[in-house]
């Protein structure tokens, strides 16, 4: 029932692949969650407006204090960011696994799956060593390490060709992809905190006095807290 199309496109249509089905399924679940949340808010007395959110297109709600509220932006994780490996560790991991599967024949026997990259860790070796080791750029730390290190690898074919939807395929071209959501200010703040963290760690290793150690430990803890809140801000 192609109403607007010509016959060429009609015969070119293929059924959705497994990855596309996963995307469709995930989107359906997300929509169900949004509807459920919206229903709950309506029953709480929120007003359903006739407008849509600019960012995600969900219908806006307004509470009794006249504040606008978008269910998907403010409660659920964003649909797009979830799949962007530059921002999400899980997405990075899934992308790594997909590439591992692709390179299984040619690559060395699979290494144990990479642990979730921690914020305080130094340069993570497992992820980068699966494939051609890349010289680590100075600013690639933390969760973004895995994804970014793999980006400039065009030679590895992936078995599941994901459809060229903007949600799945990470931006391949630049090594330091700046997603539009994270302003560069947060990036700099992250780097500064990480540098301080590294300094504190090195100081801690070489310190002999109790007082200094305690203070360095508290410095490391507060660095970790600030990194966490920076991560939350950026999402």
């Amino acid at each position: 029932m192609a109403l607007n199309g010509d016959d060429n496109d009609f015969f070119d249509w293929e059924p959705p692949t497994e990855a596309e089905m996963k995307v469709i399924q995930a989107r359906k679940e997300r929509q169900d969650k949004i509807s459920k949340l919206m229903g709950g808010y309506l029953l709480k007395g929120y007003r359903m407006l006739g407008d849509c959110c600019d960012v995600c297109g969900t219908i806006l709600l307004q509470d009794k204090q006249q504040k606008l509220y978008c269910v998907s932006c403010q409660e659920l994780d964003s649909d797009v960011d979830k799949d962007n490996p530059a921002l999400n560790a899980q997405a990075a991991l899934s992308q790594v696994r997909e590439r591992q599967l692709a390179a299984q024949a040619a690559a060395p026997p699979a290494l144990p799956p990479a642990p979730a990259p921690e914020l305080n860790e130094g340069p993570s070796t497992s992820q980068a060593s699966v494939l051609v080791p890349q010289p680590r750029p100075e600013h690639c730390e933390g969760a973004a390490a895995g994804g970014r290190a793999l980006l400039p690898l065009p030679a590895v074919p992936s078995p599941t060709t994901p459809a060229p939807t903007p949600a799945l395929v990470p931006p391949r071209a630049p090594v330091s992809p700046q997603s539009p959501v994270i302003p560069p200010l947060l990036q700099e703040a992250e780097e500064a905190v990480l540098i301080k963290l590294r300094w504190a760690t090195s100081q801690l290793q070489s310190s002999a006095s109790l007082e200094t150690s305690i203070q360095l430990c508290s410095l490391i803890a507060s660095c970790a807290n600030s990194l966490r809140s920076l991560k939350e801000l950026s999402q």
Binding site: A2, L42, Y46
Partner: protein, 687 residues
């Protein structure tokens, strides 16, 4: 209007300090904001409404607690009430809620099921529209392609339903049902099989169960049955008496708050919801005569802004040389003429005056002197009911009171119901009137909100019964098909039923009920799938017809799925049970004949051949099993109307593709301003 409204908007905007961001010159020339309605938005809106009503759906559903800022709280399960309480400014949501309310005002039930079916159909259409091969991968045209596919599908489903649905229901659902005939409503119980009186009460009981909860549904359904029995017009069609009750419901019930619901009862006669304006004399008389006045006894001549010119006759001028025409003398004259009216009334023996308007003080004092009681400001509905039941016409001209304006009552006395005193009248049995025993219902509830709920539930129950007995539509072709079938098989039986026209004999009589709990949906699902597969042609038109049947069939299953949502195992069990029952009946036409045969003749001693008798027993067993096992009944006609209403609503919301936000002079706020409070925007939707 558009340009001036926009200018006002900008003035408001600038006055509130947002002027800096809004270039005034540009706003005037700009079009009002236009929003394109995508299929995703439609689905999202309706799914949000669905999640609101989902938790209260079904016999296991919960109640919604409504609270107000004043501290009032109320619990309700009624879908219409929940949906009206939501604050919705989205135009599509408002449109859907309006459709639901309109449907519910006709059938009295099914508002939650409406939303559920609508959401399920929309999701299926959305899925199907997204699967269609897309022209190009650019955003705009994909949306347009989806929207037009969806619209196309919705129109096809509606066309299919309008044409085929009643046949499918007649063949696939009605054979498993039971026809409630009104005449047997109050008759003695039939020994074999479920009696009809039981069935009507069961129908009401399952309705009240879903509306009011388990504890009181039995009691209220018995009370309603009693009321309907009293109001049965013996010689007329059943729907007439139901319609009568429905139209006069306001006059036939009295809500009383402060008592438990078990105090609800029936009162003989009519309760007029006003108190006596003059003290009611305690009369020992047997019969009381009453007159109804629709106007003023003492005409009001002086209203504000009017000028009264007094003149007098020559005779009077001669007698009174003083020649003063003052208003005092004029009003004295009117009072004297009033005395003549009262003398006339006394001669007719009238002791009660029912008036539609507030009478003047002179009338009241004269009435008190004459020992007549006056009831003022009686509502029109009650007066018309009174006139119908008593047979007396209201007096229009107080100078001409004739004996036919005088009604005879058995008694007329005050009655104390709750915190109010009302007037209680009872009518003499007169042969000219229809032989009904008028009675009035007193509905008690613990608080005002609860009493209101019970009253609404009662009103909706009457509407539901009314739509149960409404005949379902039928096309000419099916009628001829039916008569052919019936004349072939009922050769000797036709003369036994002289009054019933042949097509009615074939099971499309109104008043069919089936067991509740998703039975209708299961049976229709099966019938639709069978209908789809039976048209096995290979051209495009029929395959899309198959798709339509399948889509509708799958969408219908959401209702039983939600009813059994607390335990999916029961859903599967119910589905399996229906499959076996359906498969046990091979040929639908013979089933129709046999079922209606058994329901009409039932226990009569009609001679039957041996093999037919055993088949009868088998089918009676099956239907009896279905009735005994399930908890309640629901009306086939209501379900059919609900389905049609859902499909029509679906088709109309999918035809909307643009929303134009316009602002009238009252609502001068643009969409982005969040600080000022507002009543609501005026939205127009256009095709």
């Amino acid at each position: 209007m558009g340009i001036t409204a926009l200018q006002q908007t900008t003035e408001e905007a600038s006055s509130l300090g947002y002027g800096g961001s809004v270039p005034v010159g540009l706003m005037v020339a700009e079009m009002p904001p236009v929003e394109c309605l995508h299929l995703d938005h439609v689905v999202q809106t309706v799914c949000a409404l669905e999640s609101v009503v989902l938790r209260s759906f079904g016999p296991e559903g919960g109640q919604v607690l409504f609270t107000r800022d004043t501290g009032q709280a109320m619990l309700s399960r009624s879908g219409a009430r929940i949906l009206t309480a939501l604050r919705l400014e989205h135009p599509l949501a408002r449109m859907v809620v309006e459709c639901v309310l309109k449907h519910s005002s006709v059938t009295g039930d099914g508002s939650k099921t409406f939303i559920l079916l609508l959401a399920s159909l929309l999701r299926m259409i959305h899925k199907m529209a997204c699967k269609e091969p897309n022209v190009s991968h650019t955003y705009t045209s994909r949306q347009t392609a989806e929207a037009s596919t969806a619209r196309h599908l919705a129109d096809k489903i509606l066309a299919f339903a309008l044409e085929e649905l009643d046949n499918l229901i007649a063949m696939g659902v009605i054979p498993y049902g039971c026809c409630l005939s009104w005449e047997d409503f109050t008759a003695k119980k039939h020994l074999s099989g479920p009696s009809n009186n039981d069935c009507v009460q069961k129908l009401l009981k399952s309705f009240f169960h879903s509306r009011l909860g388990r504890s009181h549904c039995d009691f209220i359904s018995k009370l309603t049955c009693e009321l309907l029995t009293h109001w049965k017009f013996k010689r007329d069609q059943p729907s007439l008496s139901l319609e009568f009750v429905n139209d006069n419901l306001d006059a036939l019930h009295t809500p009383v708050s402060g008592f438990p619901i078990s105090c609800s009862r029936l009162i003989e006669g009519q309760v007029i919801h006003r108190d006596f304006a003059t003290p009611c004399p305690q009369t020992e008389q047997k019969a009381v005569k009453a007159a109804v006045f629709s106007g003023y006894l003492q005409p009001k001549l002086l209203n504000a802004g009017q000028v009264l010119q007094l003149g007098c006759g020559e005779q009077w001028m001669e007698e009174n040389s003083k020649n003063n025409r003052s208003i005092v003398q004029f009003s004295a004259w009117t009072e004297r003429s009033l005395e003549c009216v009262f003398a006339n009334l006394q001669s007719l023996g009238v002791s009660v005056i029912l008036s539609a308007v507030k009478q003047s003080a002179a009338v009241l004092s004269l009435a008190a002197q004459a020992e007549m009681c006056v009831v003022e400001c009686v509502s029109e509905d009650e007066l018309s009911l009174f006139a119908q039941l008593s047979g007396a016409t209201p007096v229009s001209d107080c100078w001409m009171v004739e004996p036919e304006h005088v009604a005879t009552l058995t008694f007329c006395r005050p009655i104390l119901l709750g915190a109010h005193r009302y007037v209680h009248v009872a009518f003499n049995d007169s042969e000219e009137r229809v032989t009904v025993k008028p009675c009035s219902l007193v509905i008690c509830g613990l608080g005002e909100g609860q009493t209101d709920q019970y009253t609404c539930a009662f009103r909706d129950a009457i509407r539901m019964l009314l739509s149960t007995w409404e005949p379902m539509g039928m096309t000419a072709t099916t009628a001829s098909k039916r008569t052919l079938q019936s004349t072939k098989s009922t050769s000797s039986h036709v003369d036994q039923i002289p009054n019933v026209p042949p097509f009615q004999q074939c099971g499309l009589q109104p008043g069919y009920v089936i067991p509740a709990g998703g039975t209708f949906e299961f049976l229709l699902h099966h019938a639709l799938l069978q209908n789809g597969t039976s048209c096995s042609a290979s051209d495009d038109i029929v395959t899309s017809g198959l798709a339509v049947s399948q889509l509708l069939a799958n969408a219908l299953l959401i209702v039983p799925r939600q009813i059994y949502s607390h335990s999916p195992r029961h859903f599967l069990q119910a589905q399996a049970r229906f499959q076996t029952i359906i498969q046990n009946h091979s040929h639908p036409f013979s089933l129709v004949y046999k079922q209606e045969h058994s329901s009409i003749f039932g226990e009569s001693a009609f001679p039957l051949e041996e093999d037919k008798l055993t088949k009868h027993r088998f089918e009676a067993d099956v239907s009896a099993k279905l009735f005994m096992s399930d908890s309640g009944l629901e009306s086939v006609s209501c379900k059919y109307q609900l389905l049609l209403a859902v499909l029509q609503c679906l088709s109309s919301i999918l035809h909307v593709d643009t929303v134009l936000h316009t602002h009238t002079a009252l609502h001068t706020q643009s969409r982005r301003l969040a600080n000022t409070s507002w009543e609501g925007t005026d939205d127009e939707t256009e095709d």
